[in-house]
Subunit: 216 residues, 2 copies
């Protein structure tokens, strides 16, 4: 009997992870999405993630992560989401310490428990916010952890070396519902267009020569 | 001003992590214990951990980890804690996939958020249950993750190459309150003396020539 190809997708409803979900499906994987509620200031991305997973007929679980010590701008009420004229070359205040490491560790626990060998993550390190947990070296180091744990699990990061325009072009071919994705750090009715995340997205759509359907 | 030496201790109230807490205190660290409620079948170890941290005047947080997929013998109601005549050479059913990786990832998040550079973990790989997340290679691989994340955080595993008797002798010198520690996988009034964890502990006290005060 041929084993079913299954994958776990770290899924936030952002442009990148939604592209990765559709990419994995296009490669024949049956996907289980892990959606994390880690204390983000707004729940909009969680609701969007559930909606997209549902419409893609992918399984999903929402996992609550409690980080009582957090003091970054994405999760702490005392810190505002910064507005930078240009992207900083240092790590910005929106970096959540340990975030992708935690997400991957939950995915490892899930994958090993249900005997799945593929974990997909949407990190990319070209047009990105300078987060140290989105780099090729980080993915390589974490894959080495999976190896010394004697698992056969591998992290796949198919967007790692693509720029935002290339990601959008790939996703457009895969019919990614960009209209339903949520990228903005703020949880207002419409994307703020001022945070780093909105700016990177807008730059990508502009360079790809495609209109962002989420702004219609 | 001299910076206060602070450390985060992964703390379960077991023999090993309690020895590590006292070891770190003896080295001058002000300790913050992370106690994890990850769905263990009994809460006895959590209550013991709080009691020990309190009496050692160490700070602590109890962190709830939700693993809805878990199917190991420590957390799943459908699986009994195994009784082995001899320790298995394969990974036993009590192995919780991803457990130490998750614990270290929470510790990373905490340490980076509050600017602490030392994480202590009580793993040892001599008299142990053959868990792949208790080996020198695992600690080395995780330390490499911390390095590529550009943190200055280091995992300390001072018991890594000690056998159980050596750990108990070290702890006895450090006045570790072994009477209050909880090692047993089962949550009965007294340790079961049948599970792997009880057997390893009993072997250690016997080899050290010390009576286990928890059995008085």
């Amino acid at each position: 009997m041929k084993m079913e190809k299954r994958a776990i997708i770290l899924f936030s409803s952002g442009l990148d992870s939604t592209t990765v979900l559709y990419y994995a499906m296009s490669k024949g994987y049956k996907c289980s999405c892990l959606i994390f509620d880690y204390g983000q200031k707004h729940k909009k991305e969680i609701l969007s993630a559930v909606k997209i997973a549902d419409s893609a007929k992918a399984e999903y679980s929402v996992i609550k992560i409690n980080l009582p010590w957090s003091n970054d701008a994405l999760t702490s009420k005392n810190k505002e989401i910064p507005v930078h004229k240009h992207l900083t070359k240092t790590v910005p205040s929106t970096y959540v310490p340990g975030r992708n490491t935690l997400f991957l560790s939950y995915a490892l626990s899930f994958a090993q428990s249900i005997n799945v060998r593929a974990i997909f993550i949407g990190v990319n390190s070209v047009d990105f916010s300078n987060y140290p947990d989105c780099t090729p070296k980080f993915i390589e180091a974490y894959n080495n952890v999976l190896k010394v744990l004697k698992t056969k699990i591998v992290i796949h990061a198919p967007l790692l070396n693509l720029n935002k325009a290339q990601i959008i072009k790939l996703g457009t071919k895969l019919n990614v519902p960009y209209k339903d994705t949520w990228t903005c750090y703020n949880g207002c009715e419409k994307p703020c267009m001022e945070c780093d995340s909105c700016k990177l997205r807008a730059k990508g759509f502009k360079e790809a020569g495609i209109n962002d359907p989420a702004l219609d």
